[in-house]
Every structure is written in structure tokens, then in C-alpha cells.
Symmetry: C2
Subunit: 158 residues, 2 copies
């Protein structure tokens, strides 16, 4: 199977990967969360080739994670901003940062710490059940067939 067919798999993880699952894309998004908006800035901070960066930004615009905004006429210059859809990737970023902090940071400690503006404390992101608020992990959650798949199953059975 080729990578560009991956979005066709009826799986939300695969579909998400079809948007953010290639090299550099998530780092571009990380920079966007840190406030970076312009081509040159992305390029310098990430040390990504201009070619690649151009391609990744365009794809992110296509998929609705970023949008281009004119910030200067003559010559026309655009910057890249996170859309709502892009902002909603924050949990993914934070979950990855949390894992990296725990397992990859080494003795030096985490390179970035997160402060919650609500309570003013350093935090780690914690995943909880949307219904009862209890913390959850792999063992406390059971994946079940959802409508997006049972529909297919029905069709196949007809």
C-alpha cells in the first residue's frame, strides 16, 4: 500500500496521519503553536530545506490546518496561521511532548515546561474520561466498532 492511499483506510488515526504523519509536518505545527508565522522563520528555526518547507506549508493549507493571510501588499506577502482545525491538534502535540519529557529528556530535564494560565502552575497534560473525569490509560478504555465501520460491514453483508 502506498502512503497516499492511507487516508482511505477507515481509521481516524490513519486519516490523521495522512495530514500530519510525514516528516517535518508536526514540527512545522509545533512552531506555529509557538507563534511562528512566516516562511523565513520556519525555515531558520527548523533547518528544513526551503523546498520541503514550501511543500509542507502548502499541504497544510490544503488540508485546512493552516491558512494564508496577507500581511503586506507590494510585494504580496503571506503568513501562515493555525486555523481552528489546526489549533485542535494541540492535544496531539502536548501528548507527544509529555511522552518525550518522560522518556527522552534525559538528565537535563524537559526542554520546555508548560504553565497553565488558569491556575499558574507547571503542568503535564493528563487525559481524562470526558464523561466521568477519571484519568484514563490503555487498559481502562475499550475500543468498539463505531458507525463509520459498522456501516461498511452492513454494506458488505447486503
Amino acid at each position: 500500500m502506498r502512503w497516499n492511499e492511507i487516508q482511505d483506510i477507515p481509521c481516524s488515526i490513519a486519516r490523521t496521519l495522512s495530514v500530519i504523519g510525514d516528516r517535518w509536518t508536526l514540527l512545522v505545527i509545533r512552531e506555529a503553536f509557538l507563534g511562528v508565522r512566516r516562511f523565513e522563520q520556519f525555515q531558520k528555526r527548523l533547518e528544513i530545506t526551503r523546498h520541503r518547507l514550501s511543500d509542507r506549508l502548502n499541504k497544510l493549507v490544503e488540508s485546512g490546518v493552516l491558512r494564508k493571510a496577507l500581511y503586506q501588499e507590494s510585494p504580496a506577502r503571506y503568513e501562515y496561521r493555525l486555523t481552528r482545525k489546526g489549533m485542535d491538534l494541540y492535544p496531539v502535540i502536548l501528548a507527544m511532548a509529555g511522552w518525550g519529557d518522560k522518556y527522552m529528556a534525559g538528565d537535563a530535564g524537559p526542554p520546555v515546561e508548560y504553565v497553565h494560565l488558569g491556575c499558574g502552575k507547571k503542568i503535564t497534560a493528563t487525559l481524562v474520561c470526558s464523561e466521568c473525569g477519571e484519568p484514563i490509560d490503555a487498559k481502562s478504555v475499550k475500543p468498539m466498532l463505531g458507525p463509520g465501520l459498522s456501516g461498511l460491514a452492513k454494506k458488505a453483508g447486503e
Copy 2:
């Protein structure tokens, strides 16, 4: 910058990506969370080339996300199981699934639903502050220089 240098960036997201940030790896892990353990099963379910699968599994073992466990002698056969480190990737998976459900599922609805064993309800994973329990998003969290980076800054300044 080459991909194999990415782990050297002092960023937990980059370091996490150095482990799970390439094609297929996260889908392999998804299958592992669904209970898949054996080479043939991964291969059939993912339609990944055997070559790639072999490589990905080995790298995941190297990085401590999976471990090999002998399940049959003569001929010796091993299966791949998630370690604690691997299990702890669940928030990443769930965050991605949540985003995919929201933005990529289309009319058919999410392909998989998650039931919390604690309360028995269908849930979406929600990110909350580890200190005060309030839900968090990009705007309510401020990233600050952590020890892993301020150490470097000190060194550079000496």
C-alpha cells in the same frame, strides 16, 4: 538536516517523532494496542510490505516501545508486545483518534468508539490540567524555557 539527526534537537516533540514519526510506525503501534502481536498479523492487517514491517518492528524494539517475547520454541518464534513505555503512547494515539473523528470521519461517523470501563460510557479523550483539572487548549497553556534548555543556554553563555 537529515531525519536521523532529529533526535538531537532539544525538543521533546522532535525526540518523540524520532521514535514514532515515520511512516507506518504509529499504525503498527495502533495495531499493538488492538492486541496484535505477531508479524503475520501486523502484515496482513496493515498491508505494509514485510520488509518495512520487519524494519519498523526492530526499531521499535530498539527504542523500547515493543519487546520480543518467545511464544514457541522449535522453531523459535517471537511476538511483539508493548512495554510500559509503549503503553504510555496511548494518549498520543487517543488524541490523534479524537482529532480524526472530529475532522476526518465524514458523514459515516467515527469508525471506532471508545468505551470507558470505569463508567461504561462512550468517551472522547479530554485533556485537562494535571494540577487543577480544568480542560486545557492551546490558548490556556504557556510554554516556558525548561531545565533541558536553560542548561544549554547557560553553557553557551559561559
